[in-house]
């Protein structure tokens, strides 16, 4: 199961968070907001600007730099 950075996933892709490889406090922040291992995400918007993901039915926008460091295990 290949893990891909969030920035490379197409709109509509569903998956689970595999790992976050950002700095310590950024990773911790993301985890606490619900992006921890195994969290279900769906890509809502990924064209220009921050990526919008659906996390358990609510939406969070992540800057591309941060989104790149979030590895997702996409649902096949």
């Amino acid at each position: 199961m290949a893990c891909l950075p969030l920035t490379s996933l197409k709109t509509g892709t569903q998956g689970k968070v595999a790992r976050v490889v950002a700095g310590h406090s950024a990773t911790r922040r993301l985890y606490e907001m619900g992006f921890n291992t195994g969290a279900d995400v769906v890509v809502v918007k990924n064209d220009r600007g921050p990526v919008i993901v659906g996390l358990n039915g609510h939406k969070v926008a992540l800057g591309r730099g941060l989104a790149q460091k979030m590895l997702i295990d996409p649902k096949q």
Partner: protein
């Protein structure tokens, strides 16, 4: 001593709505000591007793990452609150329960308000609150704060819990086996030591790498105990940051064990109205123009209603009051100077400030509506790309918008920026957003020199202000505040119909703040200006021989390259440092002996040219902000040096702008 309830919850969970619903008009906004975090407190009666509610900042976690989190955590640990009401957004229950988990770890007495259950219903979600309560070990009360539903139940449960004796959790929270082992190990070392907080909580916090808890523990142990502790701690801490993340994972595991089967949601994600709206409002091409359109409409409405309609009414009212006061003083045979002070200093100066109030009432109401509806998060989103091109980020833009009304709340609004670099830059560029008090200045010069092109001139000035703000943001970001621009990370809450009570309450808090400022700082400063204008006794008031006139004559040469190197213009600008509202009245007095009206217009026409009018307006747009803003900058940055810096560098920018325009204009023969 009234009982204290702490209100805790995620941002956008409806916590503020609940606070407003409980406390009505009986609330007070202040500050937590030593930090720039707002402290909101209110009171209500229930069952014959009075209770105090303290609204803590919206937070995602009780870590120690930001001032907001620390304030909330310290308050709960202090033992001051008798019970904690944890507001949980039912539509986002898992993430919200993460905070609940931390509260339970702390051993606090918690009642969960499962808020927004109406919205959850419309999303076809359902909850087994009994099971949730049992698994959490805390009462769970469904509420709809915006419609005041469930509140009596909630308060009743909170009061009940307050009076109950504290009960430890029957079974400690599990974070997963491997982590539990380590927690227990550390707990054993701490057993029996005199610590201020529950041992297990301390152990968990230590493993999370919490520096505050660590120093607290080190301070509480004897040197022998400390050795033992440090040994075990470094062994466990060798796992490093992964351990902290495992604990976060562990808490979510606990949350899932609580919600599993007790929370039902439909399999398919239904596309909501929010999703449909966002397809347009966050569209890669249309998002930004739509934002510009919405903002333009807000300002149009503000100035049309606030300035032209209600502002005029206030002006007339002020005129009437002034006339009545003058008549009264005449009948009392009051001395001439008192009559003059009342007419020019008091009524003229303070009146100018009062005329400004309808404008800010409307602006704050409209901005409040946008904020409460959830749109402002989208505004930050669409601005992110543009802001990034100047080394800033989207969230920085929202306080700038607030600054268009008045720079004081604009600077205060930068509190939402957690990153220090973002925050400092946002504070220092805020004054370039042309505040509402400068509008009468523009209007006077436009009436005198550009009567047919008012809209274009105003719009250009505003745009110039924005461009300078962004440019200075980029420069500051590359010099004084070098560093990485922070990541954009923001929740986009579902769109909601704004709760009128929230909007009005928030608007009123802002207006009240403005009135207090106007009543104190601005009033004092305008009075001082008047005194300087009429001293020494016997000289022509507001003449070149008065103290004010002499100050003007002294500084006038600075402005010669900008085309208005006369003492009157200098006096005008000088008074603007006191309060921008004072400039027109002061100019009127020094040029024409009146404060407004056609005489002022013709006096300006005699003293300026279209080119120098333009350079003067640019100076006004960009130069030193008023003392109220400078005082706010000092408070929010925690040091006077930044206020001084702001005063000096913006004066420099204003001067440069004015000089450039004048000299280039002269070269082009516009003169």
């Amino acid at each position: 001593m009234s009982k204290i309830i702490a209100l805790v919850g995620n941002p956008n969970s409806g916590k503020t709505t609940l606070f407003n619903a409980l406390t009505g008009a009986n609330h007070h906004v202040g500050n937590w000591p030593g930090v720039t975090v707002e402290r909101k407190e209110g009171q209500f009666r229930f069952g014959g007793d009075v209770y105090t509610v303290v609204d803590l900042p919206g937070i995602y976690s009780l870590g120690a990452f930001s001032e907001d989190e620390m304030v909330a955590r310290d308050f709960i640990l202090s033992g001051e609150p008798d019970v904690v009401i944890n507001v949980v957004d039912a539509t986002n229950i898992e993430r919200n329960l993460y905070l609940t988990t931390q509260l339970l770890e702390m051993g606090a007495k918690v009642v969960v308000a499962l808020n927004m259950v109406d919205e959850a219903s419309s999303l076809s979600m359902s909850f087994d609150t009994e099971t949730l309560a049992k698994r959490l070990g805390a009462p769970v009360v469904p509420t709809v704060a915006s419609k005041r539903k469930g509140l009596d139940d909630l308060v009743a449960k909170a009061v009940e819990l307050m009076q109950a004796s504290p009960q430890g959790r029957k079974q400690p929270l599990s974070y997963g086996e491997s982590v539990d082992v380590q927690v227990t190990r550390l707990q054993e070392v701490l057993a029996g030591k005199k610590l201020a907080y529950p041992e297990r909580w301390v152990a968990v916090k230590l493993l999370e790498g919490d520096a505050h808890v660590r120093s607290m523990v080190q301070a509480s142990l004897t040197s022998h105990e400390l050795q033992e502790f440090e040994r075990v701690y470094s062994e466990l801490a060798a796992h490093g940051s992964d351990l902290a993340l495992e604990i976060v994972d562990g808490r979510y595991r606990f949350v899932h064990s609580v919600t599993n089967g007790a929370v039902n949601r439909p399999k398919e994600q239904v596309l909501t109205l929010t999703d449909h709206l966002d397809r347009v409002l966050t569209h890669k091409y249309w998002g930004l123009p739509l934002f510009a359109l919405i903002m333009f409409t807000v300002f149009q409405l503000t100035f049309a209603l606030g300035q032209d309609v209600f502002g005029e009414w206030v002006a007339e009212g002020v005129g009437l009051v002034g006339g009545a006061l003058d008549g009264l003083l005449l009948r009392m045979n009051a001395p001439e100077w008192l009559r003059a002070y009342t007419a020019e200093g008091l009524v003229g100066g303070v009146g100018a400030v009062l005329e400004f109030i309808p404008l800010i009432v409307i602006l704050y109401t409209l901005m409040g509506l946008l904020e409460d509806s959830g749109y402002m998060a989208r505004a930050a989103y669409v601005m992110d790309n543009t802001m990034r091109s100047v080394g800033l980020q989207g969230k920085t833009f929202v306080p700038l918008i607030v600054g268009f009304g008045c720079n004081v709340p604009g600077v205060m609004a930068t509190r939402t920026l957690e990153n220090r670099r973002d925050r400092m830059i946002a504070i220092l560029i805020n004054p370039f957003m042309s505040c509402g008090a400068k509008i009468p200045i523009y209007l006077a010069f436009i009436a005198a020199f550009f009567p047919a092109h008012g809209a274009v001139v105003m719009f250009s000035l505003y745009v110039l202000g924005i461009l300078v703000a962004l440019l200075m943001g980029k420069i500051l970001g590359n010099t004084l505040f070098k560093g990485e621009v922070s990541h954009f990370l923001m929740e986009l809450p579902p769109y909601r119909i704004p709760t009128i009570r929230n909007v009005v309450r928030n608007m009123w808090d802002n207006v009240a703040g403005f009135l207090v400022r106007a009543g104190t700082v601005i009033f004092l400063v305008i009075s001082l200006l008047w005194v300087l204008a009429v001293l020494p006794g016997g000289v022509e008031p507001y003449g070149s021989e008065s103290v004010l006139g002499r100050i003007g004559t002294l500084i006038a040469p600075i402005f010669a390259p900008a085309g208005f190197g006369n003492w009157q213009a200098s006096v005008g600008l000088f008074s603007g440092i006191a309060a921008k509202e004072a400039v027109v009245a002061t100019l009127g007095m020094v040029y024409a002996g009146v404060e407004e009206g056609v005489e002022l217009i013709s006096a300006l026409q005699g003293a300026f040219t279209p080119l120098t009018a333009l350079s003067f307006m640019i100076m006004t747009l960009l130069y030193t902000p008023c003392v109220a803003t400078l005082a706010t900058i000092r408070k929010e940055t925690g040091s006077a040096k930044w206020a001084l810096f702001s005063a000096i560098y913006s004066f420099g920018i204003g001067w440069l702008g004015a000089v450039l325009v004048f000299q280039v204009g002269r070269l082009l023969g516009v003169g």
